[in-house]
Symmetry: C2
Subunit: 157 residues, 2 copies
């Protein structure tokens, strides 16, 4: 029994170190975690597209503010917890496009995620207080953080 407890404790500790998932998320099945993260990135894509449409067409400040605020909230929501152990392969809405490096080089993945969250927060602030030109500049900074992370951590699809 003691050995069994020790093994259980060690496993739990390893899970706790390797990912930042809450207990609720640890209880969720890999398929659900992958669905959630694929959904979060769809919401990011939707809102990124709204901002781009405003920059390319007629600038709609109210729409850009809403979109940037949503982007920032999702970017800062704790997406890393959805890349928990056991979700390196598998299917959510579709096969995961996460490269193995997400799990083998989590330090760099977390660093790039933090950059993305930082630039998204800055975009929300600029959208509220700045003009279209300022938003365009900050949006370009944000999309560079997307590309950098996708290059290293997402398979082409």
């Amino acid at each position: 029994m003691k050995l069994k407890n020790l093994v259980s404790s060690t496993l739990l500790a390893a899970v706790g170190i390797a990912c930042t998932a809450t207990l609720a998320q640890q209880a969720a099945k890999p398929e659900q975690l992958i669905k959630w993260r694929q959904s979060a990135f769809q919401v990011i894509g939707w809102n990124s597209g709204r901002i781009k449409a405003s920059l390319d067409g007629t600038y709609n400040k109210e729409d850009v503010v809403k979109a940037a605020h949503t982007l920032a909230a999702v970017a800062n929501s704790g997406l890393g917890s959805l890349f928990a152990l056991g979700t390196d392969t598998g299917k959510g809405w579709h096969d995961t496009t996460a490269k193995p490096a997400v799990f083998s080089d989590s330090a760099r993945f977390n660093e790039l995620s933090a950059n993305f969250a930082k630039e998204a927060s800055e975009l929300a602030a600029v959208a509220q207080n700045g003009d279209a030109a300022a938003v365009k500049g900050q949006y370009a900074k944000l999309t560079r953080t997307c590309k950098t992370c996708h290059d290293d951590f997402r398979t082409a699809n």
Copy 2:
């Protein structure tokens, strides 16, 4: 030419009144709009679950604040634009679960959406400044707005 322009203008005005979609979203295909809204509700479900897990288990203020903030942002993001004309039937990640009433009684749908957004914003404020008991009370108010809307506007699935 004048008649054609008039017809085009009238059609555009009708679309503008019938939904709040931006030009970019009007350009998106129904399948994409349905994917985006299904994704948004998955993100809502993920974050609602995080708050419930904290209330049912060990309260984690940082996690609840992040989750409530994400919920509020998505609830206030302009989800109504994803229920655009032509998306009453069809498949995103799966067949839409929107009832025809979403499109035939958009006034009530918008009213219930606004209630949801209001209670989600209040939850974000309570999460930041209140204790677990206060969050529990406001979370119950929020989930009642979910249920009311689902009863009227979502098919059982």
